[in-house]
Subunit: 200 residues, 2 copies
Amino acid sequence: MNAYPKTGKNRIRQAPQRAAYDEKTVHAILDEGYIAHIAFMDEDAPAIIPINYVRDGHQILIHGSRKARIFRRLACGIPLSLAVTHLDALVMARSAFNHSMNYRSVILHSSAHILEGEDKAKALDLMVDRLEEGRSKLARPTNKSEDKATMVLAIPIENVSAKQRRGGPVDDKEDMDLPIWAGIIPIETRLGEPEQDPGQ
Amino acid sequence: MNAYPKTGKNRIRQAPQRAAYDEKTVHAILDEGYIAHIAFMDEDAPAIIPINYVRDGHQILIHGSRKARIFRRLACGIPLSLAVTHLDALVMARSAFNHSMNYRSVILHSSAHILEGEDKAKALDLMVDRLEEGRSKLARPTNKSEDKATMVLAIPIENVSAKQRRGGPVDDKEDMDLPIWAGIIPIETRLGEPEQDPGQ
């Protein structure tokens, strides 16, 4: 099983039994999401942005306006940390203390670089195809002025770790007979019924 | 309508027509979420963590293990940035360029401080009640050793902004008759059927 190397930056110290570093786990979590959060330093203060992304092999692709100050800052290759998190269930325990949540998350430490030319065009196609398979071949292609207005950044997947919690509550033995319902409440996320644009 | 003050740190420059600073909008977005992402500096590099939270008035409450290095670091009151993001729909346009997403997000710049005594106890009750109303009165209360192991932090809501996109695709006039489906695909998130713990 291919795995991302453990480095000083991605070894999980808190609850290490929940950690994973293999590509299969990391990629599956990344491939299920649409929005990542990116942390970086902006004018001497930590900043965070939510952003749409797609995974392509061992890198994460994002795109935005070439005019956006934050995007230009990331394009300089400054250090960043990126997270993708899925919340799967609320975990209801018998004791207040043992309440928890089931989740799957990926965190990585990396930096971004600009893609141009064919790499950029391919990345933009992938972003559209992530919304609907094959859609990049149906939509009106990006024209020159749109291409000029858009910046595409690639973020290599490195210093990466996954973390997951599954299963029901873990209560203390002496709490097991308390008269309170315990279990999990799943959080369900799905695509709903498409709503056609009235302009059509 | 009460609003959070605009400061140098929260004025939205990119797509300002999507920004909001009023308490009602900010609080509604915060109250719908369970997981926030927090950005901060950790050993000279930007770090990010996903974390469960609850809003209480004009502050956000989080809790974690007193042993967790990252939690102890946040407790020092270092600058942090926090984001809560809801993805509402994929927006399918006629042109590749105009694809988008509908979302609601809150971003703030603040710092954390430790809660103790009654404030801490009240915060822990709120965290449990967020999972099920009134549950803090039913669950076995936190005992002394559990309380000692837990740290509760409050993060004042300040330098805060909300940002939202709603509605269908905004296509160019000359693309409106292209033979491609356009509209939105809603993303639905809901609580599923509770699954009782077999231990009971």
